[in-house]
């Protein structure tokens, strides 16, 4: 469903992402983790068609994101860490806008269900500027889910959500994957990644340092066997240098 091959991205002389490759099949949730500046955001932006790879290719639902961008994006939903909303549209109008863009035939039935699921029904007539950070995040998620995407890319999806919202979001991600969506989840919340992801892609300075399910990573790095994901992450990314456990 998502196929990334030799993805490389340069910014001038700087290599932000260096020849990374991975696949995410339907029903899988890939956790994309790495320290700040590792190249996660660049990778996600390449996957969602915001920026073009310098080298390599990205395929979404069988379509090359560069050559057949419209078809690829039709199958995709990207929820960024910072919601970009139109301040002159209400919550409901955002969903109607997305429905038209993606041709959601049963939008009239889906919109109330989605608003209820994300607990923003009472805000449906509010402008996005009147929403709190968490509400904005919920609206961005609702916009992403409305057209029932087969590929879901989430960048820090829990930011701003209250504990109840976080629990529901975790369930939503899990349910979407069970329904056959290929999901990429980027987050610094390693407990969330550990709970939801079927496999991991750990990135450091633009290159892959580990890829596979946690048991597969333990097989590749026997010295880390039995440790928590946090310990594995710190060991593989070198982020534990100078950091002491509490």
């Amino acid at each position: 469903m998502i196929s990334v091959s030799d993805l490389t991205r340069y910014y001038g002389d700087f290599t932000a992402v260096d020849r990374i490759s991975f696949d995410v099949r339907p029903g899988e949730v890939l956790g994309l983790v790495g320290p700040n500046g590792a190249g996660k955001t660049t990778t996600l932006r390449c996957l969602s068609g915001i920026i073009a790879p310098s080298v390599g290719s990205v395929s979404i639902a069988g379509y090359d994101i560069q050559k057949d961008g419209v078809a690829a994006k039709q199958a995709l939903a990207f929820v960024p860490d910072e919601p970009h909303l139109f301040e002159h549209l209400t919550v409901e109008e955002h969903l109607r806008f997305v429905a038209r863009l993606y041709g959601v035939v049963d939008a009239e039935q889906r919109i109330p269900v989605l608003l209820d699921e994300l607990e923003i029904t009472d805000k449906r007539r509010a402008l996005s500027t009147e929403l709190s950070r968490g509400m904005k995040q919920k609206l961005a998620i609702a916009c992403g889910l409305l057209h029932d995407p087969s590929v879901l890319i989430l960048d820090e999806p829990l930011t701003g959500l209250d504990p109840g919202g976080m629990r529901r979001m975790r369930a939503t991600i899990s349910n979407r994957a069970k329904a056959g969506a290929a999901v990429i989840l980027s987050s610094h919340l390693l407990t969330l990644v550990e709970e939801l992801c079927t496999k991991l892609f750990i990135i450091r300075r633009g290159t892959c340092v580990a890829y596979g399910s946690l048991p597969e990573i333990f097989d590749a790095h026997p010295e880390l066997s039995g440790q928590t994901l946090e310990d594995v992450f710190l060991a593989l990314t070198g982020a534990n240098e100078g950091a002491a456990a509490p």
């Binding site: 920026i51 419209v70 139109f86 038209r100 939008a107 500027t129 009147e130």
Partner: protein, 566 residues
């Protein structure tokens, strides 16, 4: 604490200067900077030279000098009446989070606010000296502008504090503000009474000069002369010639400034709460500007109750037009543009009693306003790619091709502008119908009305495509909120972009003009047919050119990366 404030102000100014200097390494900023410097130099030296030759007088003429105290009075009255001055208290979000939580007294915060505003005051003074100054009295004039702008700035701050005190402390605050409000109320009442008494003199005035003369005489007799006295005192150093008179005027103006300082420092009771609120308002405005609305106005929440239907199936690009239309309805853009035709009609009505050619005046004004909408409309009507560039990452994830996005965005601005111009065409044709001087046959009038939409839509699509092309190709040159250009190069950029836009538009008009010429030679005997076919040909040619531009821009959009837009 003062040291910390000084450090913050100086280093912020220095870093801003360095950032602007670094930008000059980019050729497009360097060219614009040179153009801006050249323009300023031309204005400054040209003025100095011409004055030197003539050995005369200040650039600010007597009329302007006489008007300044009244302009100052109107500005102050507006500040008191409009009540929209709380942003005078605004701090940046960084200042709120750093300074409001620091062990700093309210009075120190006000001092900081006053000192910080001096950066703007000094810059404004410098610009005014360049534009209106003279060689030999540039220094005294600069000092005069500085006192004037500082006083005005402090007055705004004072008014904001009085209003804040009233709303924050309820009855107690209002009671404390009573003297200030009573004084302003009395002054305004006195002015209105004086102007009412002189209404017959105003009616008899034949031109602006006469009106100014009447205004001057009204304010020269007591008690009206007392009312205008502080305003004359504040303005006097900016318009007086150097010498003893200037020194005396400066002393009075400095006294007034000192009174303002004392007033502001004494009314700090509700400062912190009001400043926090004002800062939040300003932050919302900045966010709104960054997002789309460059007029800084707020989206009308009440207006959001009215919506437009949108089917969930059909051409997906229509969703973008729908979104932009809602924005147009809910922001001040349409109102601003509607103002032009309304002014045209009001002006025509104002002339109606004095001219026997009112119909032709209306028709001419409709034509002028139509052209103005074409040339200056894009500066106001910005509900297109120029607005959505701030959301480029989101726009690029939409399941639309680059050209579909550009076409929808350009149409969002072009079609409403064409519709306004179409209304003007109808008004103009109707006006001509009643004119005695011109006789346009009825079928031709109908043909003009029927054919104009094709030309207007084509023309506006081409025109807005150029403006959107600028935004995409040179995003640093247009206002996109945080990344908006500043400094001298901004002026150069504005000049250069205007020149290039005009040139490209003229170039795009060449093809359609040739087509119309050919049609003219073929159908000049059949006026109705000539109008219909000529309009269809030129409209189609313009639409085709616009289409080609959107195709090219679509490719550019697909290649454009958010980091290049800012």
């Amino acid at each position: 604490m003062i040291g910390a404030f000084g450090y913050l102000i100086l280093h912020s100014a220095r870093n801003r200067f360095i950032t602007q200097l670094r930008r000059l390494r980019s050729p497009r900023y360097a060219i614009a900077f040179l153009l801006g410097v050249g323009y300023f130099g031309l204005v400054f030296f040209n003025r100095s030279g011409s004055q030197g030759r003539e050995g005369t007088s200040p650039i600010i003429t007597d009329t302007l000098g006489a008007l300044l105290p009244f302009a100052f009075l109107v500005l102050v009255a507006y500040t008191w009446l409009a009540g929209a001055d709380r942003t005078a208290l605004a701090f940046s979000t960084a200042e709120v989070s750093m300074l409001f939580t620091a062990p700093v007294s309210r009075r120190q915060l006000i001092v900081y606010k006053i000192v910080r505003s001096q950066v703007t005051v000094l810059t404004s003074s410098l610009i005014w000296v360049i534009l209106f100054g003279r060689g030999h009295d540039a220094v005294t004039r600069a000092l005069g502008y500085w006192v004037l702008f500082s006083t005005l700035n402090l007055h705004r701050l004072g008014v904001a504090l009085v209003r804040a005190s009233g709303s924050e402390h309820g009855t107690k605050g209002l009671r404390r503000s009573v003297p200030a409000f009573a004084m302003v109320g009395a002054i305004l009442a006195m002015i209105l009474a004086g102007l009412y008494k002189a209404r017959f003199q105003f009616q008899q005035a034949e031109d602006l000069g006469d009106m100014l003369h009447v205004l001057g005489s009204v304010f020269s007799a007591a008690p009206m002369s007392w009312v205008i006295l502080p305003f004359r005192a504040a303005v006097a150093p900016a318009i007086s010639a150097p010498g003893a008179a200037w020194a005396r005027a400066m002393l009075w103006a400095l006294g007034l400034l000192l009174l303002h300082v004392l007033w502001v420092l004494r009314s700090d009771a509700a400062f912190e709460e009001a400043a926090a609120e004002a800062s939040a308002t300003q932050a919302r405005r900045i966010e709104a500007m960054r997002a789309r609305r460059l007029d800084g106005g707020n989206v009308n929440t009440k207006a959001a109750r009215r919506t437009l239907p949108l089917a969930s199936t059909g051409a997906p690009a229509v969703a973008l037009v729908w979104k932009n239309t809602l924005w147009l309805m809910r922001s001040g853009q349409l109102r601003t543009l509607l103002g032009l035709p309304i002014i045209a009609i009001l002006a025509a009505l104002a002339f109606s009693g004095r001219s026997s050619h009112v119909e032709m005046i209306i028709a001419t004004l409709c034509g002028i306003v139509g052209v103005m909408l074409l040339l200056f409309g894009p500066a106001t009507m910005r509900n297109d790619m120029r607005g959505d560039l701030r959301r480029l990452p989101m726009i690029k994830t939409l399941p639309l091709s680059g050209q579909q996005i550009i076409l929808a965005e350009v149409a969002s601005s072009a079609v409403p502008t064409a519709a306004l111009q179409f209304l003007l065409v109808i008004a103009g044709v109707i006006a001509v119908s009643f004119a005695d001087e011109v006789s346009v046959p009825l079928p031709v009038r109908f043909a003009i009305i029927a054919a104009s939409p094709a030309v207007l839509i084509g023309l506006n699509l081409a025109n807005f495509s150029i403006h959107n092309a600028f935004a995409l190709l040179l995003p640093g040159w247009i206002r996109l909120g945080e990344t908006s250009p500043g400094g001298v190069e901004a002026m150069g950029q504005a000049m250069l972009s205007s020149i290039i836009t005009m040139l490209v538009l003229a170039l795009l008009l060449l093809g359609p003009a040739l087509g119309v010429t050919a049609v003219y030679f073929l159908l000049r005997q059949h006026t109705v047919l000539l109008v219909l076919v000529g309009s269809a040909v030129s409209g189609a040619a313009l639409f085709f050119e616009a289409y080609l531009m959107t195709e090219a821009l679509g490719g550019t959009l697909e290649r454009t990366e958010p980091m290049h837009v800012g």
